[in-house]
Amino acid sequence: MSNKRVQFSHSAIPYLFIAPQMLIILIFFIWPALQAFYLSFMLEDPWGLSREFVGLRNYLYLFKSSEYLSTFLFTIFYSAMVAGLSLGLALVLAVKANAVIRFQSTYRVLLTWVYAVAPAVAGITAYFIFNRHIGVMYDLLLSMGWDFSPETNAFDATALLILVSVWKQVPVNFVFFLAGLQGISKAVREAAALDCASPSRRFWTITFPLLAPTTFFLLVINLTYAFFETFGLIDTLTRGAPGGATTTLVYKVYQDGFLGADLGLSSAQSVVLMALVLSLTFFQFRFIERKVHY
């Protein structure tokens, strides 16, 4: 935990320093997590008056439910699309921004500011732009013969959600890629320029492998983003419509638990998600541990 050769001697002081964090974690993290675990074995009547122990019934229901399966598959598909597209676009932009000499800082500012836009704000902005009555994009698509209707068409809703999620995520990836590119030493770049004449070959044989750790790290960040942070986006843009076609796992936890008041089922979903994220992060942690050397 600590690599310091010298430390302060043992006393009550460290506990004083760590206590606020531990207290907050106990009350607002451990307690709800345990509660989720407990509630996942319970069946609660919709008014919250009584609870009954039902064992694994909530879980069994989940695993047999075709609705949950399609939510699960949608989440995977959506996350992969968002990660893939936003990584690709950001990489192109970062490579170009790194290549140009003039206006580099202007480009950097103009390409990163979207980072600070809230997902919910991105959602409502897209809602307006694709709106049937006032949206310019709706008109544009219609003139191309596409009657865009995300309220009733699952394909349209999914496309819209992915587009806005990518819009929101490109800036984050751009910053990391640019930092990674600028971290490549001049000597390496000069040697590369001598060895390979073609710029694209130079990119794929030398630059891209050097960016691989950044790309892997970003992949994890992007998946986490698509899993959790897009809640505000979905709630403002599609609300899972049509018929749950754009519901992600996290959005469903909220829908079933808070709107549908089925605490047991929602808690079981929380536990499933926790297990999922735990295994994903275990993987990530091993990677990061390997990567960080001082």
Binding site: M1, S2, N3, K4, V6, S9, I13, P14, Y15, F17, I18, P20, Q21, M22, I24, I25, F28, F29, P32, A33, Q35, A36, V92, L93, K96, A99, V100, R102, R108, L110, L111, W113, A116, V117, A118, P119, A120, V121, I124, T125, F128, I129, W167, V170, P171, V175, F176, T214, T224, F228, F231, G232, D235, T236, V250, V253, Y254, G257, M274, T281
Partner: protein, 280 residues
């Protein structure tokens, strides 16, 4: 400028237009009348109404109790952003200090408890968290809005990594000078962490300001509404098939994104440093 440079700049500008256009449409349209927007759709060029819609958005009370004006919501968002950023930085710096600079029994255990919070965002345990906060009587309060969000230890991780890079000699020198743990923390470690604090502050302020799910669950009293939640109200008006004052709605959306975007642009250098540092 040769031909390939010209292509590079073109690609960059296409990317910038992709990112900029949606927000520009809202800004331009907010200076038109609702009439114009209804008849002609969103506008690419600024209109004749100027910033009138912004004045309305800031002062007009919405909702049932007429307490949620734009000003009020901006104030709440500011409290939320500042409270979240400051609270998180304070407890994280302290906890990281205890972990790095002291030999405590069960340090490994404490470390894992703290870092398990990185794995499970609030969204996953949202319903039981709501339950706990309501049992503690913290619904509709700034404490309930801010403190549960602080439970995730992202910043602790960064500060711990940062402290590890500080040379050992510093503590040795401080101990020779008879500086105790408090002196060392406040007089040496805190000033050394300035850039790190700045970077964390920018990122955390943006995260706090942009919160959506937790505030909508936590608050039923309109005096606690944040500006990001105000957006939900605009949408519910539209979804009930009523026509909102589109220009005022756009103004509210623009107002909600100006502070975090301004913070990121103005403190660009620290922001990028923070993002890249946090990669570790």
């Amino acid at each position: 400028m040769n031909r390939s440079h010209w292509l590079d700049h073109t690609i960059l500008w296409v990317g910038i237009l992709f990112l900029l256009t949606p927000v520009w449409l809202l800004i331009a349209s907010s200076t038109h009348s609702t009439q114009t927007i209804l008849q002609e759709g969103l506008q690419f060029l600024p209109g004749s109404e100027g910033f009138a819609a912004y004045k309305t958005a800031l002062t007009k009370a919405t909702g049932f109790t007429d307490t949620a004006t734009g000003y009020r919501m901006l104030l709440n968002s500011t409290i939320m952003g500042l409270g979240f950023a400051i609270g998180k930085i304070l407890i994280s710096m302290m906890a990281a200090y205890a972990l790095v600079y002291f030999r405590i029994p069960f340090a490994g255990f404490l470390f894992w408890i703290i870092f398990s919070t990185l794995l499970l965002p609030l969204e996953v345990r949202i319903v039981p968290s709501y339950d706990v906060v309501s049992q503690l009587g913290l619904l509709n309060s700034y404490t309930g809005l801010i403190v549960p969000l602080i439970a995730s230890a992202t910043a602790t991780f960064y500060f711990q990594q940062f402290y590890k890079t500080i040379p050992n000699e510093l503590l040795e020198a401080a101990q020779l000078d008879n500086a105790g743990p408090f002196r060392f923390f406040f007089d040496i470690l805190v000033p050394l962490s300035r850039t790190m604090i700045a970077a964390m502050f920018i990122i955390m302020f943006v995260v706090g300001w942009n919160q959506y799910l937790w505030p909508i669950m936590m608050t039923t009293e309109e005096s606690y509404y944040t500006i990001i939640m105000g957006i939900k109200n605009i949408l519910s008006v539209i979804r009930e098939s009523r026509v909102p004052d589109f220009n005022v709605a756009f103004a509210l959306v623009v107002l909600s994104l100006v502070p975090p975007v301004a913070v990121v642009i103005i403190f660009q250098r620290w922001f990028i440093q923070g993002l890249v540092e946090s990669e570790k």
